[in-house]
């Protein structure tokens, strides 16, 4: 008998991976002129009580009639009052999301993808390097670590944006700047009136800060050009590719490794990522 009996099995009770859960928008925060954060929770109380995720995982937000887009959950699993997503207005779905008001219904498929290796990072010093909206995935891990502060070594945050008006998370920033158990450095691309922090591109400021690579892991996210030069700066500072973690963004649809568009060679950002070490990226085909 040839191998013809290998018909895949269908389990009628298996979950439908494309069916979003209905959630309600609790709060909308205008972060910058083009970034809003949305806080939401699932309507189904049982599902909400059971919902769990790990820092770095993704969610698909659905606006029915417009479409679905992928965003990182940027709240921390240690703070369970809501899930937060930050959305930069860029295309159709993000523009429509910006019209949401508290009380509106939205669809959510989450959690998707892998997470930051937050357990393996215990005992390490951390350098977070976030550029623009790239601060969103940093935030979830940073908040998680601050809520489990004794598990981790020194924490440095370098957060850069084009101008003072382009920083998100005002409340968090105030806290991060005040905290004695972390070092926070903010930078903008070019001088602005009343700005009390650094001026300069992120890779340059990073080089000036000169964090020691010893027992340290760098976590970075931002626009592709920033990432490229930040990786160079980190390597010059002595960080090896295994010590550098980033989180990728690609156009996604299914979020479960089927539909095909977020592949980098045989890897799928939606299931193998979004979090990769620089060492992993180097072993993959060069198609970011």
């Amino acid at each position: 008998m040839p191998d013809t009996a290998r018909r895949p099995v269908f389990e009628p009770s298996a979950p439908n991976p494309y069916l979003p859960q209905v959630a309600t928008v609790l709060e909308v925060i205008q972060e910058t002129h083009n970034i809003k954060s949305f806080r939401l929770r699932l309507d189904d109380e049982q599902a909400w009580a059971k919902f769990s995720f790990e820092p770095g995982q993704l969610g698909q937000l659905s606006l029915f009639g417009v479409g679905e887009s992928t965003f990182v959950i940027n709240s921390s699993p240690t703070r369970k009052d809501y899930l937060q997503f930050s959305v930069m207005r860029a295309g159709e779905v993000t523009s429509a999301l910006h019209g949401l008001l508290p009380g509106d219904k939205i669809g959510l498929r989450a959690p998707l993808g892998n997470s930051f290796p937050y357990k393996e990072l215990k005992g390490k010093n951390l350098v977070f390097i976030g550029g623009g909206i790239g601060m969103a995935p940093m935030r979830t891990l940073l908040l998680y670590m601050l809520d489990n502060r004794t598990d981790y070594g020194d924490i440095t945050l370098l957060y850069g944006a084009r101008s003072p008006q382009d920083f998100s998370y005002a409340e968090d920033r105030e806290d991060w700047l005040k905290r004695k158990d972390m070092r926070t450095v903010l930078t903008i691309d070019s001088p602005a009136e009343g700005w009390e922090h650094r001026v300069g591109l992120i890779p340059n400021v990073l080089t000036e800060l000169k964090p020691s690579p010893e027992n340290t892991v760098a976590v970075t996210c931002g626009p592709p050009i920033m990432i490229r030069f930040t990786l160079q700066a980190l390597e010059k500072l002595g960080f090896v590719p295994e010590q550098i973690i980033t989180t990728l963004e690609k156009r996604m649809k299914c979020g479960i490794g089927i539909c095909g568009r977020c592949n980098i060679g045989e890897k799928y950002v939606c299931v193998d990522g979004p979090v990769f070490t620089y060492a992993q990226l180097k072993s993959m085909v060069n198609e970011l």
């Binding site: 009996a5 290998r6 099995v9 991976p17 029915f64 479960i256 490794g257 539909c259 568009r261 085909v285």
Partner: protein
């Protein structure tokens, strides 16, 4: 299992299909246009299948439709909160069992490529829409009586009479079809009073039909090392630009392909009601990977062709540790408006990866063997490829000849 074959006289074929149509939605290859013109497509019509011409499209749409609703949504005023709307999501009812009669064996093998993807990769949930349909679809292929010049199933482990993935193999012999069951589902559909028991002579007639078909295949190729060869060529932009130069990015290769399975998800709504659709997409389209920021990881058609061929012969076999994601149906060659030939690209890629350049007497591409009879299996010792260790092995692809 009882492998006793059955026989149906040609004149009774439509009666049997009609009988099956009571239990299944029966799909057959049919002319889309007038009598002797137009494409041959799969239609849910249980009569007069077009069996003299290879279907223009693959049979994948039976299990993976061009477009299908994933869910319907409806917003209503919320009775509990003034000004707010409630949201209702409904999953459409599943359709019943399908049966395809008359697909070529390569189309059935195509489903074997799709299966591991849709069954769920790396612990992810499986695709319930695909799996439900797949588990309820019976495949009755018709052995090909001859290969087209574009056919290359024998490059990738297939043959004109491959039984892989089939429930029943039908072979056209004198005045009718020999029907051989290959699965319990196949046995079930052959349980009909319209079918006669097949005799030894009919079995022999089928066997010579298979052998005759094998002889019509073009030159074979040794695909060993294709995965590594394509990987090694990834950063060779000049190679891919040259190969993709004639590509029009029309996407016909992906749409007719039995193993291309990419899709898009889009919403359509009127007022407060709408539907979320899953529709075929194509990695050959420039917008496929275009991000809202404007960034596009596969900006030029060279990068897109590289992805399509790379996926089939490198990424897929690497990820699923299995066969190539190509069944050699040749539709992408036959229907390409600019005559892009995937066989030529593969042959060049393999030649570049094999250190055969030092043998100037070789004029033919290193990978192409003479148009031999596949049954004979005479080692092609005169070819440089056979001199390489491991070249005689068939790799991961098993011969079903």
């Amino acid at each position: 299992m009882d492998m006793q074959g059955k026989f149906i006289p040609r004149a009774q074929l439509d009666d049997w299909l009609a009988e099956l149509a009571a239990r299944f939605r029966v799909w057959t290859p049919r002319r889309a246009g007038q009598e002797d013109s137009g494409a041959v497509v799969y239609l849910p019509e249980a009569r007069q299948p077009e069996l003299n011409r290879k279907p223009t499209e693959s049979a994948k749409r039976v299990i993976f439709p061009r477009s299908e609703p994933l869910l319907r949504f409806l917003r209503k005023p919320d009775p509990d909160q003034t000004g707010q709307k409630s949201l209702e999501l409904q999953v459409p009812d599943a359709d019943g069992p399908n049966l395809v009669f008359g697909l070529p064996p390569c189309d059935a093998r195509g489903f074997l490529v799709l299966d591991p993807v849709y069954a769920g990769v790396k612990g992810q949930a499986g695709d319930s829409y695909y799996l439900r349909r797949r588990s309820q679809t019976v495949l009755i292929a018709r052995a090909c009586s001859r290969a087209l010049t574009t056919c290359f199933c024998h490059w990738v482990g297939g043959s004109p009479s491959s039984t892989e993935g089939l429930d029943v193999l039908a072979t056209e012999i004198q005045e009718g079809f020999l029907l051989q069951p290959l699965t319990p589902q196949g046995e079930e559909v052959l349980d009909s009073k319209l079918l006669l028991s097949a005799g030894k002579e009919q079995m022999e007639a089928a066997q010579s039909a298979w052998q005759a078909a094998e002889k019509t295949l073009g030159p074979g190729a040794d695909m060993q090392g294709a995965q590594e060869a394509l990987r090694a060529l990834f950063d060779n932009a000049a190679f891919w630009q040259a190969e993709a130069a004639s590509c029009l990015s029309c996407g016909v290769c992906t749409h007719l392909c039995p193993t291309c399975y990419c899709f898009n998800i889009t919403d359509e709504a009127v007022g407060e009601k709408g539907v979320r659709l899953r529709s075929w997409d194509a990695c050959m389209f420039s917008l496929y990977t275009q991000e809202a920021s404007g960034h596009n990881p596969r900006q030029d058609k060279a990068a897109r062709l590289k992805n399509r061929i790379g996926h089939k012969f490198s990424y897929y076999p690497e990820l699923y540790q299995t066969r190539n994601a190509c069944v050699g149906c040749g539709r992408c060659i036959k229907s390409c408006p600019s005559r892009l030939d995937i066989r030529a690209v593969l042959t060049k890629a393999l030649a570049l990866s094999r250190p055969a350049a030092g043998k100037p007497e070789t004029t033919a591409p290193a990978t192409v063997r003479p148009a031999a009879k596949p049954k004979v299996n005479k080692p092609a010792t005169s070819k440089p490829v056979a001199a390489k260790p491991g070249a005689a092995k068939r790799g991961k692809e098993a011969s079903h000849a």
